[in-house]
Symmetry: C2
């Protein structure tokens, strides 16, 4: 493993431990708990957690503060994956080489597990597990809520579904991708400015995260079309089969690759002034573009 992979895996493990400890303190009467953990602890890369850690590095904030914030973000991300896979949404039976949550636990339990993960994110941010003053916690909740509902993730998923089979402008697709993926990555970075009480940096960091999100989505389009099915743990060319409208399907291969390079370049430029404090964020951006699963 490269040192990046080791670092990524090590932080993902810390998030898993935090969440396992957090869940252990709760009443666990039902299968919902199992369904909540099924995707969350399935060995995903937890790239959003790593972005959060990278942004906390940038502002020289403690890792111990990044962990609960990243854990809350992973809960929101995991909720969105469970719901996106549902029969009435993208109808995906597989995720990361395993049955998707509704295939494994049934549809109602999957919906409820998703709802519970979304909810617990806000609980974690305001719990004693995050050693911050309540002012900061309230600001974190507001920012995370703003990017999770109809103006963010849920709205983006709605647009994604409504676009299927219909041509869209590049701007409309970017707006959809930003909502679906970008804003949460924006929050990963903005959270550091909130925790570090650097109000003047919130927008700057949020935008870097937003670009990371778009880069992630473009890379995802390319992976879906040209990636190795085995490595991805799900069938390839699904976007095409489902009539998904993507930047790749709209711009074509060359322009999409060019867009990705431009985004990476833009992110690198924005981070330059932070010197070595931005190492983890820069490596994340490179990884996001070059990953093979």
């Amino acid at each position: 493993m490269s040192s990046f992979s080791t670092d990524l895996k090590s932080f993902a493990d810390k998030i898993d431990s935090f969440l396992l400890d957090y869940f252990k303190q709760q009443e666990q009467p039902t299968k919902i708990y199992e369904a909540m953990g099924y995707g969350l602890f399935s060995g995903g890369k937890k790239i959003r957690s790593y972005l959060t850690l990278g942004a906390f590095d940038l502002l020289e904030l403690e890792e111990s503060l990044a962990i609960p914030v990243a854990a809350a973000i992973e809960c929101v991300h995991s909720y969105s994956l469970i719901h996106d896979d549902l029969p009435s949404m993208d109808n995906d039976d597989f995720r990361r080489g395993k049955e998707s949550t509704h295939k494994k636990f049934g549809e109602s339990t999957a919906i409820l597990a998703g709802n519970s993960l979304l909810t617990i994110a806000f609980e974690i941010l305001t719990s004693d597990a995050l050693h911050l003053d309540k002012e900061t916690k309230s600001d974190l909740v507001f920012a995370l809520a703003s990017c999770s509902g109809h103006q963010g993730i849920a709205g983006g998923q709605y647009l994604d579904l409504s676009f299927e089979g219909k041509q869209q402008t590049q701007e409309a697709i970017i707006d959809m991708e930003n909502k679906k993926t970008g804003v949460l990555m924006g929050f990963c970075c903005e959270a550091a400015a909130i925790v570090g009480k650097k109000k003047e940096l919130r927008e700057e960091l949020r935008k870097i995260g937003l670009d990371m999100g778009l880069l992630f989505q473009v890379a995802d389009d390319l992976l879906d079309a040209y990636g190795d099915q085995q490595k991805m743990g799900k069938p390839s060319k699904q976007d095409d089969i489902k009539g998904k409208v993507t930047l790749l399907s709209t711009l074509g291969l060359e322009s999409t690759k060019k867009l990705a390079e431009n985004l990476l370049n833009k992110i690198q430029q924005s981070l330059k002034k932070y010197g070595s404090k931005s190492n983890r964020l820069v490596t994340s951006a490179e990884f996001i573009l070059k990953r093979d699963h």
Copy 2:
């Protein structure tokens, strides 16, 4: 209209106005927004809002503070109704005499609208629309989150579905009803103690709300079995048809009526010491038991 009905309607209207104003400030690009408002503004009684107002009265807190808190609670309640009605859950095509949200807008939009309502509740509580210090906001978020996820509403709905057609003990049913309905009503009352910074009253008020919730559920069982379909705006005897396990189906009519009387009596006793400050809460409890829809 009785003075109670007028008072109830007047506060429900204030909640609707607050929410309409709040939504107006947001980007409204999609049908999700319409689906979010479809149930929320359908002229429901908003009894949870009124409970909140009643608890704020008890501690002599301003109505202007109760409004955003109650609005957040209505968003959570409305989310839970939309999701409960889904085909994979209770599969209800009608609610309050209208098509349920998924029948009207489609399943994916209904799920996403529910998710957005759940999310916006936390946004409202931490927004500038609630004129409170951020410490209190953080405490409100933690309490609301704790009763909305797998340990509360979502967990209760899971239990409700898993009980169908299977005999349960009275204790198991009460635990399920508390999670499904009670804890949110508990929060309506506890929220006043949080806002009033009366830590020592939180548990006492929460328990009164919990009893209100159980009373509500028992009254609902009786309405479903013996109520007037026209007044309710939905078909009656649905619990029976769906094999729902309820307190009524387990205890029988006489014991259920007795339980309801005992609960009402208990609530009245708990509120006695507050004198006229508890008027709205006492009237709410009486209304909850005696309503015909």
